[in-house]
Structure formats: C-alpha cells, structure tokens
Symmetry: D3
Subunit: 237 residues, 6 copies
C-alpha cells in the first residue's frame, strides 16, 4: 500500500519545533506536523487554583483560528461558547501534561498551556501535546531562573501521536485526508519510559479487532520515540 503523501505506513510527517516563537510568554513554541501548525504558549501566573488548597496547577486551553481549516468555522468567542470537541481536546492536553509534573512543587502557581491552531491538517491535538510539552519545559526553566520554585517539578517527558486504519492498513500520524476517510483512529500519549498516559481509540465505521489495536499501539510507540528525539533536539538536551 502507498499513502497519497508518499509516506510509508510507519513514517511521520516532517516535524518542526521552533522555540521562542513569540516574545511575551515564558514558553512559546510553534510545532508543525507537516502542514499542521500549532502555536503553544506556556504562561506562568502567581495564583494557585481556587479549588485546591496546596500545590499548583497545570492546565491547557485549545483553539483554532477560524480559517485554520478548509472552510471557515465560526469563531468560538463570537458564538459564545467552546464546542464539545474543543473542551474534550483541552482537557486531554491538560491531563497529559500534568502527568509529567509534580504539582506540589508549584505552590501557589498556575501554568496555562494555550494551544492555538494556525493551520490544520489533521493531528492538531497530538501536535499540541508534543509542542506544549516543550513550552512547558521552557516555562519551568524560566520559573527556576526567576527562583519562583525551589525544586524541579518536571519528572518525565510527554509526546503524542495519532494512528489509524486507512483502507485496511494501520498507519502512523494521519493527515486530514487520511483522518476524514479512516475506519478507526487512535490518539496515544506516552512518556519516555514507553508507558501509556492516554489511549483514545474510536471506531465509527469499522470496529477494530484486538490484533489491529495491538498493531496500532506498536506504530504509536515507534512514532513517539521519534517525536521525543525531536523534542530533545529542540530543547538542546
């Protein structure tokens, strides 16, 4: 089988991670998975979450510019609420990134990861998590430099990728065309130890068999290993 893009089933799109993309945020990363471009900023605020006495918080918000997509979608600020899809994605990003942070080491502090899609071509949530991690690291390093925190709250590395079955073949990192035509797809978030943080598989058209699920998890594991290498190169560690 050949993919329209010419990629092999286990091949990622070209990944680009550009730090310090804008100047105000403590962490600011433009992440590109092929034509998908997401601007991830990490903002530090000296206030803890209202509903939590001790420790700090890491949270995420997600948005798409109205014309990030093929046809213009309504601006959520104008329609007066965030869609269910938006909320689902930003909850996923927040949970995923919290999995590598010791919240008790952020007393009275909140880090917000804003992930805004400038251009969409499939996989925006996985790009957001992968780029958001780099912005988070930059923000934590800035907090350490400003002596806002005493010990390093970071205890792992997080990246995410999508996998799916397209025309019967399991493939890695679906672009928009593959995503809209696929039989089932899965978003996988992992840490540097190869363990799973989130697994979200969905089949509307074609239910997937156990061995298909296994193949998809194998592909995801491969892809995430590459993404983590790209994150480390971007961070220079």
């Amino acid at each position: 089988m050949s993919r329209i893009s010419g990629r092999t089933p286990s091949q990622l799109r070209t990944v680009r991670i550009e730090r310090r993309f804008t100047k105000h945020a403590e962490g600011s990363v433009l992440v590109c998975f092929g034509d998908t471009q997401v601007l991830c900023t990490a903002s530090v605020e000296e206030r803890g979450p209202a509903w939590k006495k001790d420790g700090g918080w890491v949270t995420a918000e997600y948005g798409m510019l109205p014309r990030a997509t093929h046809t213009r979608s309504k601006r959520e600020a104008a329609s007066g609420k965030q869609s269910g899809r938006t909320q689902e994605i930003q909850r996923l990003i927040g949970r995923s990134l919290r999995a590598c942070v010791d919240l008790d080491a952020l007393p009275g502090l909140t880090i917000t990861i804003d992930c805004d899609v400038l251009q969409a071509d499939g996989g925006t949530r996985t790009a957001a998590i992968t780029g958001g991690y780099v912005a988070l690291v930059d923000a934590i390093r800035a907090m350490q430099a400003r002596k806002l925190i005493k010990k390093d709250p970071l205890h792992g590395q997080i990246a995410a990728i999508s996998v799916g079955i397209v025309k019967g073949t399991p493939v890695l990192d679906l672009d928009y065309n593959e995503d809209s035509g696929c039989e089932c797809d899965m978003n996988v978030v992992m840490n540097e130890a190869g363990q799973f943080i989130e697994v979200q598989g969905t089949a509307e058209g074609h239910a997937f068999r156990r061995e298909e699920l296994d193949q998809l998890l194998d592909l995801a594991t491969l892809g995430i290993r590459e993404l983590m290498e790209a994150q480390r190169q971007a961070l220079g560690v």
Copy 2:
C-alpha cells in the same frame, strides 16, 4: 487482593436493566450497576439533522441530577452551560450507539438517547451506554411497529464497562471509591463480535505498561460478555 466491596477483580456489580420505567418515551430503561442508577430514554422525532441531507441521526445527551453525588453539584441548567465532562460523555455515548445503527435506514428521523443519572457510584457513562442500547432497541422496535421505517437499522449490540488498576491490581467495573483512588482507568465499548468501538484509557497518577493495558482489555472483554447477556435477557431475545 480483596476489593472493599468483597468482589473479585473480575466481578461486575449487580446489574439490573428495567424496561418501560417511564411511560412517554419510545424506549425507557433504568439501568443499575450496583448503586449507580441511570435513567435512559430514547425519543423518536420526525426530523432529520439540519446539517445532513440524507439519512437520520442518533444522538445522546447526558445529565446528572444535582444530588446524584456525595455533595450537591451545581445544576447545569442554572449555571448556563454543560461542563466539559458532560459534553465529553454525551459525545462518547452518541458515537458508541451510532456504531450499531445504519443511519441511512432512518431517513428524516432522529433518535435522542437521554441518559440522566439519578444516583452516582462510579461508571455512569458505561452504565449509560449499556442501558442506552436497550432503550435504543425498544425505540427502533416502536418505530417498526408504527411503520416509520422500512428496514431494521440495527446491525449489532453495544455495551460498555470500566476497568482500572487499583492498588496494583487490574479490576473490572470500578465503583466510586475505586475510581477516585485508582492509578489508571479505562472505559471500553465493544460490540457483540468482541471488537472495540471505543477505548479510552487515562493515567494521571501512574502510567500503564503495555502488559497492564492487555490485562485491562481482557477483563473488559469478559465483563462486556456478561453485560450483553443481561441486555438480551432484559430484551427477551
């Protein structure tokens, strides 16, 4: 290991599926997984979805009575919006149930599955899917009796269960205590062929290893087989 409830790791809570619980809806099912009680009604409306030219639609809405939980939560109608959690759950229920329906066989028709939690003790979304399926079948049978549709749109059976790792042990069908203290948990939706419709695994505290994931999927497969038997008994098929 022993569970506080006395159940074995692979033991479901007592499952009860009561049809015709209220009188107006085409399908009305009270489903109980132990102390979790969800009222699922299926309502037929003779209007297709606005954004879709042909065929019909199956959708779901989810709600919790304010005092279904240990402490009262704010009524979503009063606060003016559905939370991200609510939207995430109702999108999951809708996608899961659409997986067993041929939407083209429902021209100009919409079936809405309302899942309202009367009492919560963990696993409300999986109970909602499992009970919602039975309400959906009743509504489809009612539509056939009223000659609203020509052919049977139903082409499968759907049920759902939660699994998770509690104190190091993979267990089936977590109750509230287990759920709030677990290291990671997963909601699994399957069809009657043992294939996966949805897999949603989350680890905030403890990332799960591949073999743990495999054990959890095995447990879920067992549990869903039992739930499907209970669905068939309730439906008398």
Copy 3:
C-alpha cells in the same frame, strides 16, 4: 359529570410518598400524584446565602427530564438557560417551603430542595411542594442528629394541590388532559392550620366568577388535608 379517569370531582389521584429514594441526599423523596413522578432531594450545605448576613436559607430548584413529557423537550442545560416557567416554579417552591422554617435557626446553612420531574402528567409543581416538604423534614432531622443546629427550625406543615374548572365543573388535582383543556386553574399552597401560603389562579380561556373561586378554594382545602395526612404517614409522625 364524570372525569375521564373515573375520579369524582373532589378525588385526588393515588398519592405515593417514598422516602430515602436515593442514598446521598440528607432528604430524598419520590412523590407520585398518579402518573406524575417527582424526585425531591434536600441537600444541606454549610454556607449561608451570600446576600444575607445572619441566619440561613432554604431554596429550591426545579427541572424536568427531557422526556418526562409526551414529546421530548429541549434540555435546559443544553439550551443554556432555564425557561421562565422553570424559574417561576422553583421560586414558588422555595417561597412555599420557607413559610414553615425559621431561617434564623439555620445560621450559616443552606438547604436546597431539588425537584426533578421523572414523569409528568399534570400537577408537577404541587407534587414538588408536597414531596419537597417531606425531604425538607428529613434533612432537618439529619441536621439535628449531626448537631448542626441547636433548635428545631420547623414550625409548620406545607402541602399544595391544583384545582380547576373542567367543562364547567370545579375539580381537584388536575391531570395533564384536564389541565390542558381546562377553562381556568389554580395552584394552592396551605399550611396545617388551613391558612393560605400561596394562591395562584389563572384564566386564559374563561374568567372565573367569585363563587367559582370560592368553590375551588373549598376543594383545595379538602385535598390538602388528605395530602397532609399522607405526608404524616410517610414521616411516621
């Protein structure tokens, strides 16, 4: 004249008051006036109202499950606001129940009565007040047992019933068919001394004469006496 249901003009529907219907709330009552079923829970919170320096508060919220009615109505949480009807009803329930409570004896405490209609067949607001009273008593008794309050804030008994003129005849406790076809109707809330707490009579079709109003109030007085007996039996007092 005969009513479709076979009831005499002054006959209530079968009344059922079931306490401890769900397990979390301090008071939880399922009240049925015939096919009208309302779940009333009373929740105690250790916070006073923000706008009131001393004493506590008793308030009510009202909701209908979307398919409690003949045709599905839109979920208020999804449409983003409570209808005027909902607000009118919950304000009525709150005012009515506050009429039997000494708020000064609830310092720093709020009791919320949630009335959720599982099945509607006319008279949901009067059922809600009648059942809500029982839930309120249970909650107050629980507060006394937990030593949250020093003296008994309860100083009366409250129940409510609807009356109306159907095809020229004054009748008690209208069901949905009678209610939608009636010439005028009235909701009456009374205390155990036979005094009026609320009287709300409405005539869109046929204005009512003074002697009709008098007959309706007589009928209501009879009906409420029976309801109070049912409340006392349920409470075992």
Copy 4:
C-alpha cells in the same frame, strides 16, 4: 388605622394615564400609580408567532431602568439574562392582556407590549397591566385604521391592582414601603364583568386566613372598578 401616605385602606394612589407619550409606537402610554411610573408601548409586527400556525399573538416584555429603584440594580442586558422575577412578571402581563383579545382575529400579526419602569414605588406589575391595556387598545385601533385586520379582536377590558395586609389591616394599592413590610400581598387582574383573570397571593411572613382572602378580593374589586373608569377616561370612550 392610618397609612403613612395618609390614604384610607381602600384608597388608590393618584392614577395618571398619558397616551401618545412617545411617537414611534402604535400605542404609547405612561401610567403612574403615585410615584410608580411605567412606560407601556404596544408595537405591531407583521409576523405571526413561529410556534403557531393560525391566528396572531399578544406578548409582553418587562424591564426596569437600573435606577428606577432606591439603590441601583444591575442592568439585565449587561448581566446577560432576565431575572426570574422579570420573566414571571412579563408572563403575567402577557397572559392577562391576551384574556381580552381574540387571537384568531390577528392573523399573521404580533403585538408586543413593552413595559419599562422609569420609577418604581411598588405595584409596577399592576400599573403595567393597567397601562398596557390602554396601549393595546391604541395599537388595535391603529391596526384597524391601517386596515391590517378585518374585525375588532378586542372583547373586554382588563385592569390590575395589588392588595395586601399591612400591620393587620387589609389595604389597597400598596406602595413600596407597605409592600416591603406587609404580611402578605396579592395581585389581582380582573375584567369589566368583575371576573377574575389572575389571582396571585403570596404569604411569606404570615399565612392568610380565608376571611382575610375574602376581604382582599373585595378591596381589589373596588380598586379595579376605579382603574377601569380611569382607562375609559384616558381612551375617551
């Protein structure tokens, strides 16, 4: 007993009904019950209600200027929703005025009565109904002049007044001081035949006995007779 204002128990405040107060509306009436001033406009639109196939509709909206009251209240347009009180009042005004209109004689037409309180001193809803009736008549006469309707839809006269028990004495037309200190109060809407359209009695402090209710209805009947005379004088009929 003497009232602070010097009025006798059965004495109305000075009533003023000024037609053509603003120039754009088909009916525009400033109604004053003492210091309570409400601007009532009736607007004719050539569209029927969306939810009703035949005939027309008469509806009402109610608002208070933020500083109509002793202390400034939040502007409802700014807070983003109408309060429960506002909705309750505008529903009451609409129902009351529809009671004198044959909606079938208004095919494809909607009349909206806007009642905006410029200055509040108790009794705003009863002033709104009483003045709204006059604006409604003017609008109907304008529709007849413009040949929008074939037959006269008006079949009665409507006015409203408040009554209540203040320091043990039943009194008519409560001003703000009396209203905020009264033991119970009632709003009564009647037609020209002395029949009741709406009766809304409320007792938070002191439940009212049957004979008190009777006295209040007697007072209301007297007051409404006077108001109707004032309406007829204003209309020159």
Copy 5:
C-alpha cells in the same frame, strides 16, 4: 441648501435639559435634542472598582427601550447580550465623562451614569454625554452634601454633538433622517476650553477630505458652545 427640518446648517435642534426627572437617583436628567429623549441617571455606590486599588471610578451604561425606534428592536436583556453598538457607545460615554473628573478624589466610590433612550431620532450618544454631564454634576454635589468626598473631583465641563455631510453640505446635529442618509458623520466631544476629548468620524459612503473635516470641527465647536450654555442654565451656574 435647506434642511428638511427647516434648520440652517449650523443650527441645533431645540435642546431641553430637565433635572430631577426621577426621584431615586443622585442625579437624574431628561435630555432632549429635538425628538431624541434620553434619561440619564447618575448613581453613587460606595464601592471602588475591583481592578483598581486606589481612587474611584466613573462608568456609563447605555440602553434603548425596544420601541424607542421606528420599528421595534429586540430587547437586549432578552437576547442575552449587549450589541457591539451598545458597548461602543457606553464606552464612549464613560471615557468622555471621566475626562472631567479627578478619580483620585473619589476613593472607594463608583458613579454609574445610566443613559436610557426613551425616544430616538438621531444623536442619542451625544445627547447622552451632554445630559450625563449634568447628572454627574448633580451626583457629585449630592456626594459633597453627604460628606462622602473631601474635595471637588470635577475639573471641567463636557458636552458632545454630531456633525456630518448631508448632500454635500456640512451640517450640525443630525436627526435620524439626515443621519441615515449622510455621506459621513462625526461625533465630537469637547471640554469648556474648546479642546477635544473624543473625535470619531466615519465615512462609509464618501471619504471626507481634510477641508471637510476642518469645516465639521468648526461646526462642532459652535454647537458645543451652545450646549454648554444650556448645561449651565440647567445647573443654575
């Protein structure tokens, strides 16, 4: 050239400024520019703005009664939000009036100027600023009388007028007909020294040349001088 109204190009409409129009507000002014009628109230509240540590605040809100205009417009409280136009106008009024107040001399105090249009015939925002100034002065004098403030925060006089080019001729104080047909128009806010506080010129149809802009500013200067005289007469200073 002659204006439909018979006015000369540099002639204002009849201006009327009536103080103490309603009784509760610290300042209450009905201002009329011809048929445009705006009720401006100034309300003093003993709370400072939440986002500002020291000093006080002066702010404005703007609204139109639904039938202030030729055809009824939707009530903003009912549609659930203020339009962009409304927000733009109330921000303009607030900024303009703050230009003559020393906010540091209002510690812990907020003055809200509510401008509600009873009848609209063009120029509502300039009438609101001109009348709002008089209400503000009255409120400040009331605060001084009540010893709420130590020194006089007022340091100037503010008025506003519209100018525009109608059929090629620059004219002063456009009414609705002129405004809706004009080629470009400008709202000008000035102080008593003839300096500019706000200049807002807009050309959708016909861009204006520099010399036209100069002529419009000359006209505005003339008009504002007259309005300031009217303000002083109303205030008796």
Copy 6:
C-alpha cells in the same frame, strides 16, 4: 526629543507584509508593525448576509491569542463573550475595508476578514486594517480567477495608522510603551486619495487642542502613504 525605540517622531516601525502565510484561506497575510504581529485571513463564503436582499458583504472579526500580551488575558471563547474592546475593533476593521468595495458587485457572497493577533506591541487594529486590505485583495483576485464575480468590486486602497502625543510631542505609530503612557492618541484610516475613512481620537489624560489635532493628522497622512507603498510592493502592483 528622542523615542525610547530610537525612532524619530515621524518614523514608522519596520513594516512586514507576508502573503500566503497559511494555505487554506483565499487571502492570508501576516502583517508586522515592529513586534506587533497579526494574521489576517480573508475567507469567501457563497452566502449573502441574512439581513440584506441584494449584493454581498464584507465583515471582520478580531481576536487576540491569550498570550499575545505581556500578561495572559482570558480567552474570550472560554469567558463566553467578546469584550467591548474586541467588538469595537472588529466593527472598525469591517467598516474601513467596506469603504473600498462595491458590495453590489458581490451578489450572494460574503468575505470575512479574520484578524488574529499573535503578538501585541501596540497598534494591533491599524496593523489589522493594513494587512486585512492585502488579504482582501488576494481574496477578490481568487474570486475573479474562480469566476465567482463578474466585475472587480475593488475601488480603492485602504491603510491605517495610529498617532498620538507622547510627552508633549506628536509621534507616529505608537508601540505599547508609548501607547500606554500617551496623553492622547488617534487611529486614522485613509484611502489612496489621502481622504479620511475613519478618525478616532481619544484623550483621557490630556484634551488635545485644534493645532495638535492638525499635527497628528499630518503625521498620519505621511505614515499611511508609506504603508500604502508597502502594500503595493507586497501585492506586486
């Protein structure tokens, strides 16, 4: 006088206009005025405005990424509404760009200009208009290529700049530091004939005299001439 940035009073910041910045929109322009970066996309939709029978429409929406600014601001989509400032700006952008378009030549078509601020350093609205114009031209050219329109609707060139008085000196193109400390500022929109489309001058601190206003307009005229040259170079015309 010297500006902190080293610029002379009449010197613009470095202007950069980059076309085809994202791939989906008919026009997509990144415009930079120094550190201010705004992404302007023009989207063509084949639907006319609902409220207008003939011709088409050009409209604009404006947004800021939450961390475009020094401190993070709340996401408008999350808070549920666009601020007054946002609405004021997007109305200004829309009006300004409509001034160079013949709407009758766009029958049944809508062009939406989305202006999203990636990084803010003062002057975002003037950058948005200047960049939005280029995106609009690209969209119109695309419509011509796709034969969506018969004749060229474009009849002018539009650009915008801010001017203000900083420490007593009139300066061109204020950056954030200058803007937040300035005595008064003005946004000026002009066309290629040097005529004014919009003039919006505001003085909260220091009212500006007529000769200051004249100097500011002179500066703006100079600046806009340069911006128009940059637009033409970017467009290659």
